[in-house]
C-alpha cells in the first residue's frame, strides 16, 4: 500500500508555488535545462537553511529569486563561462527611440515570430540586460524589487531595461525582415 504523502510543511507551502518562476529565471540565466534544475534545487535548499531569515508575510518570490541569482553568480556563472561584460554607455546599437517596425510600425510582427526565435534573441543578450528583462518583463517584478535584488540603483535598472528592450526589439525586427514578415524602412 502506498503511504499517504506527508503533510506539507510551512516552508513547502511558501516556497513550492514559486518553483515555476524560479525555473524560468534559472533557465535564462544558465541557458540549459539541466543547469536550471540544479540551480533551482540548490536555491531551495539554501532557502530552507535560511528559512529563519525569511520575514513571514513578505514576498517569498523576491526572496527566492534573490537567493537564486546570488547562487548563480557565486557557484554557476564562474564555472560556465566568463560573464559577458557590457559597457552600458556604449552598448547602444539601436536608436534611443525604436526604429519602429518598418512597414509595421505598431509591431504586429512580434506576434508572428515563433517562440524559439524570441527565446534565442533573449538568450543572446548580455547577462546584465537579460536578467532585467527576465525579472521585469517575464516575471513582472517592479523596479524597486529588482534594484534590491541586483544591489544597484533604480535608475540603473530602468536604463538597463530600456537598452535591453531596444536591443531585443532590434534583433527581432531583423528576424522579421529576414523572414519577410515586415519590410524595412519607414512606414508610408
Amino acid at each position: 500500500m502506498v503511504p499517504p504523502p506527508p503533510a506539507e510543511t510551512p516552508f513547502e507551502r511558501e516556497v513550492l508555488p514559486h518553483l515555476d518562476a524560479m525555473y524560468r529565471v534559472a533557465l535564462r540565466l544558465t541557458g540549459d535545462a539541466a543547469g536550471a534544475e540544479d540551480l533551482v534545487q540548490d536555491t531551495v535548499l539554501k532557502a530552507f537553511r535560511a528559512w529563519e531569515s525569511f520575514r513571514q508575510g513578505t514576498n517569498a518570490r523576491g526572496w527566492l529569486l534573490t537567493i537564486l541569482r546570488n547562487t548563480f553568480i557565486n557557484d554557476y556563472r564562474r564555472r560556465r563561462r566568463a560573464p559577458m561584460l557590457v559597457d552600458i554607455d556604449v552598448a547602444e546599437p539601436h536608436a534611443l527611440v525604436h526604429e519602429g517596425g518598418g512597414s509595421d510600425p505598431e509591431g504586429e510582427f512580434f506576434h508572428q515570430l515563433v517562440d524559439d526565435r524570441i527565446i534565442a534573441a533573449l538568450d543572446a543578450l548580455p547577462d546584465d540586460f537579460r536578467e532585467v528583462v527576465v525579472l521585469s518583463d517575464v516575471e513582472g517584478l517592479g523596479y524597486a524589487q529588482i534594484a534590491d535584488m541586483l544591489a544597484v540603483p533604480v535608475g540603473t535598472v530602468k536604463s538597463r531595461l530600456f537598452r535591453a528592450r531596444r536591443q531585443l526589439q532590434g534583433v527581432l525586427r531583423e528576424y522579421a525582415i529576414e523572414a519577410g514578415i515586415v519590410r524595412a524602412g519607414k512606414a508610408p
Binding site: L19, Y23, L27, V40, G142
Partner: protein, 82 residues
Amino acid sequence: MTPTPMNCAEALELLQDFLKDELTAANQERLSRHLAACGHCLQHEHFERNFLAALERATRGVRCPDEAVARIREALRSAGPG
C-alpha cells in the same frame, strides 16, 4: 486643476514606466491624455505592448519539470523537518 499637457519627448521618455505601472498617478493621467490625442506616440505604445505580449507568450509557459519538482521535494525531506 487641469494637469500640464505632456509633449511627445516626455511621453516617450515615460512610456516604459507607464507600461510597468511605475508612474505617479499624475503622470499616468498626463500620459494617458497625451496618448489619446497623439497617434504617433500611441503607435509607440502599441509597438511596446505587442513586443511585451510576444515576449511573455514565448517565455511564460515554461514550467519546472515534474521530475525536478519530485527531486526537490525529496531533497527537502532528506534535509530535515521544515
